[in-house]
Amino acid sequence: MKLSAVPYVALKALRRNRMRTLLTALGIIIGVAAVITMVGLGQGAGAEVREQVNRLGQNVVLVFPGARQLGGVSIGGGSANTLTVDDARALREEIPEVIAASPEVRSQRVVVYGNQNWFTRIYGQSADYLQIRQWGIESGRMFDEGDVENAALVAVVGQTIVEELFEGADPIGETVRVRGLPLELIGILEPKGMSLMGSVQDDIVLMPYTTGFQRISGRSHAMVINVQVFDEQSMEIAQLKITDLLRERHGLAPYQENDFTVQTQEEVAAAATETSRIMTWLLASIAGVSLFVGGIGIMNVMLVSVTERTREIGLRLAVGARGPDVLLQFLIESVVLCLLGGIGGILLGLAATEIIASYAGWPALFSTEAMIIVVSVSAAVGVFFGFYPAWKASRLDPIEALRRE
C-alpha cells in the first residue's frame, strides 16, 4: 500500500465521523489532562516543600510535637500539644551546642491598614529567629528580648506587605490591625528574592511569639521549635541532647516513646520530597486508570466501527488491499485518535493546571518529561486497544464482507 496514504486514510475516516471521534477521544483527553494536571501540581508541591526547607537556614534542627509518624512524615504537623515555650528556652539555655531556639506559632489572618487589607501568614517567633533563618532587616529593627518578654504589640513585615498595604511607602511607625489588635510596625525584612514560586517568602508578618500565642492564635503550645546548632559537626550530638533534655522535661519513662520529633532540615526535606513523590505517583496512577478506561472506550468504538464499515473493508479487500493493509489502516486510525486525544489532553491539562495554580494558589511545574511520557502512553494505548479490532477487520473475508448489509 502507498505509505503516505495510510495516515491520510485514517484522518479521513476520523473526519467522516467527527462527533464520534470527539467523544471517543474525550476519554483519552480527560485521562491525559488528569495525568498532566496531577503530575504538574504534585511536582510543584514537591518543589515548594524543598524550597521551603532550603529557606530554613543552616545547621537547623526542627523539633515537632507528637511522635514520629510512619515513613518519617511529620512535616506540617504541630497538632499535638507537647512543646512549650519553656521547652524552647530550656533548649537554648541548657544545651551549649544550641545557639538559638524559636518556638513558632503560625496562623493565617487578614491584616488591615486604613481601608486596605491583605490576607497573609503571621508567625510568632523569638527575637533570634532571623539569625536562624539568616535573614536580614532592611530598615527599622527586629523585635528584641524585651519585646518578647512584654508581649509587645510590634511586628516586622516582609516586602509583599509593604507593597500591598502601603503601596511602597515607608510603613515604619504605622499601625496595622490583626483581629482588631493594633500592631506597630518596627521593621522591614530584606527581600528574600524571587523564590522558585515567586515572592511567597516575602508575604509574611513576624511578631514576638508571646504576642502570637496570647493575642493572635490563642494557643499555648509551639507548632514547631526552630533550633540552630553551633556548627555542622555538632548537629548529631545536639540532636541527642535535645532528645534527652525534652524527654527529661516531659517526664517520660524509659519505656515511653518520644512525644516529639527531632529532625534536621535534610531529613525533613527527604521526607517531604518522598511524600510529594508518593503523592505524585498516586495521583498519576489514578489518572492512569482513567487513561486505561479511555483506551477501553477506544477499543469499543473501533469494534463498532469495524462492524459498521464491514462493507468498506470488503471493498478495500476486493480492490487489492491485503490483510496487513487493513490492519495498518485501523491501527493507525486508533493511534491517530489517541494521539489527538493526547495532544488535546495536554492542552486541557496545562490549562487546568494553570487555573488551579492561580485560583488555589498552589505552585505548579510543567513537566516536559510527563508530556512526552503521556503522549507515548496514549500512542501505546492506541496500538494496544486498536490492535484487536484492527486484527478482526483484517481477517474479514471479502465475499462475506461485501454481502453484509
Binding site: K12, V319, G320, A321, R322
Partner: protein, 250 residues
Amino acid sequence: MISLKDITKSYRSGSLSVDALRGITMEIEEGEFTTIMGSSGSGKSTLMNILGCLDKPTEGSYLLNGEDVSKFKKEKLSQVRNRMIGFVFQNFHLLPRTTALENVELPLLYTEEKLSWKEIHKRAGEALDIVGLGDRKKHSPNELSGGQMQRVAIARALVTRPSVLLADEPTGNLDSRTSLEIMDIFQRLNREGLTILMVSHEPDIARFSKRITILRDGLIISDKPNTPRSSADAIAQWKDEAEIMSEETA
C-alpha cells in the same frame, strides 16, 4: 485470456457438503463481452467470486493471463485483483462521505506500482472522464443519482487498467433507462477492447452482450454467441412511462 478447467467448488458445513460448482470448463478470449445467466442457486455468484479471485476453487485450474491463480496465496490474490480485475457491484459499494474522485482513487492506493499523488489524481480524473462524470469529481455519493454512482463505480474499476471488468448484476439497482446507459458504457468500453464479464438474471440486459452462458445447478447448460443489441438503438427506442401509458389507452 481466461481459461477455466473442471472448476468445482463445494461448501462444507459440518458433515454436509454442498456442491456449488460441479465442473465448469470455459474459455474467455480478450475483447469478449460475456453474460453469465442463471437463477439463484445456479452457482453464478460462486463462479463470479472465483473469476474475481475473491475465492478459490476446490478443484480445477484457473488460468488468468497464463497464470494459474487457483494456487495463489491470499496476499498474492489481492495483487492479482488489483492489477487485472475491475469490479462493478450491484449496490455500487462507494464509500460514503467521500468524493467521487477519492472513491475512484481507492484501488490506486493499494497498487504495487509506485505512483505519485499527482499521478493518482490524474488517473482517477481520466477514469471519471471516460464514464462522463468529469464534472462530478468533488461530489460525494449522496449527491449523485443511482446511475451516476454506478458510473463512479465503473470508473473505479477502470482506474487500474484491468484486463477484465467483472460486473455482478450491475443494473440490479437501477431503473430501465439508467440500465441502458450503463449498457451503453459497457458496449463502448468493449468496442475499445476491454474484456467484460457480467452476471445478470435479466434477459433484457444479457442481450447487449456478445456471448451468453447459462448455468444451472453448478453446470453450464448453454453457451452461445449472441448478436448484441445496440445500446444506441435501445436508447433511441426507449419510451418513458407517460408515452407507454398513452399508447395503452389509445
